[in-house]
């Protein structure tokens, strides 16, 4: 209660008033009976003259809005500047300001983008590997066709027993598991078409090489060169997959 608001004392009971409070209202009331009468008087005033709920018409507000816009005309950038107090309210702490939070979200998004890009690139790499495999198979089939034509030509000249090589024993180039490597079908047919192993030859490396004419050697060397030319790692991986597939 503010100093001087003696009428507030009449909200209490007379018995609850202190001596100082009674002294402050002694000019108005001197007894409990008068105190109760004055209390009734204030209650009647409050009851009869409560503030009415009067509201001005909306037209008044629109008139005042016109005055406002007349004094402060709308600028083109006014809307943008009007956003500043909303985005950077001074009464909030730094980390609670909306603009700071928006900036933090953008920074997080930028940091996460490379992470998601890495994940999306993996399927692309697999697709690239598959493409390389198909390319290798296509080349092998082309090489097999060329080798077949050469084989036919060779068969016409020297009917030698072409033993299809099921396995090429290459002890020094064993796989890590120690198993022997099985040549891919393309290579085996290539080798078998150009080589006729002498039955009595026993090469320490296990690679049987027969007598081959110089023309055939040049063709074979070209094709072998094509087959053995440096390939991209993905293609090597494809070949490795094929080589290891039979184990």
């Amino acid at each position: 209660m503010e100093t001087g608001e003696f009428d507030k004392l009449f909200e209490k009971n007379y018995g609850d008033l202190s001596a100082a409070e009674k002294a402050s209202i002694q000019d108005l009331v001197t007894s409990e009976e008068e105190f109760e009468g004055m209390k009734q008087f204030y209650a009647q005033i409050e009851q009869n003259f409560a503030s009415p709920d009067l509201e001005p018409s909306p037209r008044l507000k629109s008139r005042l809005d016109d005055v406002f816009h007349e004094v402060y005309p709308k600028e083109s950038g006014a809307r943008l500047w009007a956003l500043l107090p909303v985005l950077i309210p001074s009464e909030k702490k730094f980390h609670q300001q909306p603009l700071v939070r928006i900036a933090a979200i953008l920074v997080l998004a930028l940091l996460l983008v490379p992470f998601f890009n890495q994940k999306t690139n993996e399927p692309i790499q697999h697709a690239q590997v598959n493409e390389d495999k198909a390319e290798v198979e296509q080349q092998d089939s082309q090489g097999a066709k060329a080798a077949n034509t050469n084989e036919e030509a060779l068969n016409e000249e020297e009917p030698t027993a072409s033993i299809p090589l099921a396995e090429i024993q290459v002890p020094n180039t064993e796989s890590r598991s120690g198993r022997s490597l099985t040549a891919q079908p393309g290579l085996s047919s290539l080798v078998s078409s150009t080589v006729s192993p002498p039955p009595s030859f026993d090469h320490p490396d296990g690679v049987f090489a027969g007598a081959v004419s110089d023309a055939d050697m040049s063709v074979a060397s070209d094709e072998i060169a094509m087959a053995t030319k440096p390939k991209p790692i993905a293609r090597d991986l494809a070949i490795l997959d094929l080589l290891t597939a039979t184990f």
């Binding site: 100093t3 009428d7 001005p56 008044l60 005055v67 004094v71 107090p85």
Partner: protein, 196 residues
């Protein structure tokens, strides 16, 4: 997370006035929303229940604020200041008319009765009390009348009244004392408990 949140409701009246002076429309809208009804009721009481006149006075008061916000002293309470301006506007109106209607000080016994479930007899008694009160209040001189009205009708504090009328707290208190004693004595026949 609320990105856009109205914060003007948390601003004080003085802060809103500062923003209004910089051309902030939302600050003006908030300030108007806080005082439109109270000023409407005040002017209706002070200006003979003339609604149109009361709205004109509200328009003039806020237009003055918009055109010249520097009029407001930011070191003062805005509430006290706006009532002070309203009070001066009413006094000027009285002087223009050169007539102070003693029979009506803007107090209407048809005002809202808080307890609407009271009986007919109580309503008659209230109406009679209101009429007598109005008459007795009119019999008071202006300085006592306005102090009593601002205190018990508008609900302002002693300090706010002192600020509005530019008088001391003690002067407000003494005038209020005098007005209360006079009215209570004049209306004691309405209250059998009120004795001298």
């Amino acid at each position: 997370m609320k990105l856009i949140k109205p914060t003007y409701k948390k601003f004080s009246d003085e802060e809103l006035m500062v923003a209004l002076g910089k051309g902030d429309k939302r600050a003006f809208d908030e300030l108007y929303g806080r005082y439109d009804k109270a000023l409407m009721a005040y002017f209706m009481r002070m200006l003979y229940r003339d609604r149109e006149l009361a709205e004109d006075f509200i328009h003039d008061l806020f237009a003055k604020l918009i055109r010249n916000p520097a009029l407001f002293d930011t070191t003062r309470s805005f509430k006290s200041w706006v009532y002070s301006v309203a009070n001066n506007m009413c006094k000027n109106e009285y002087k223009k008319r050169e007539v102070r209607k003693n029979t009506s000080n803007g107090l209407d016994s048809n005002y809202n009765v808080k307890d609407e479930n009271r009986g007919v007899l109580s309503e008659v008694q209230d109406r009679q009390f209101g009429e007598d009160f109005e008459r007795c209040l009119g019999e008071l001189d202006e300085k006592h009348c306005e102090v009593f009205t601002l205190r018990h009708i508008e609900g302002l504090s002693i300090k706010e009244i002192a600020d509005i009328l530019e008088i001391s707290d003690g002067t407000v208190k003494s005038r209020l004392f005098y007005a209360t004693k006079y009215l209570a004595k004049s209306l004691e026949h309405h209250n059998p408990l009120l004795t001298r």
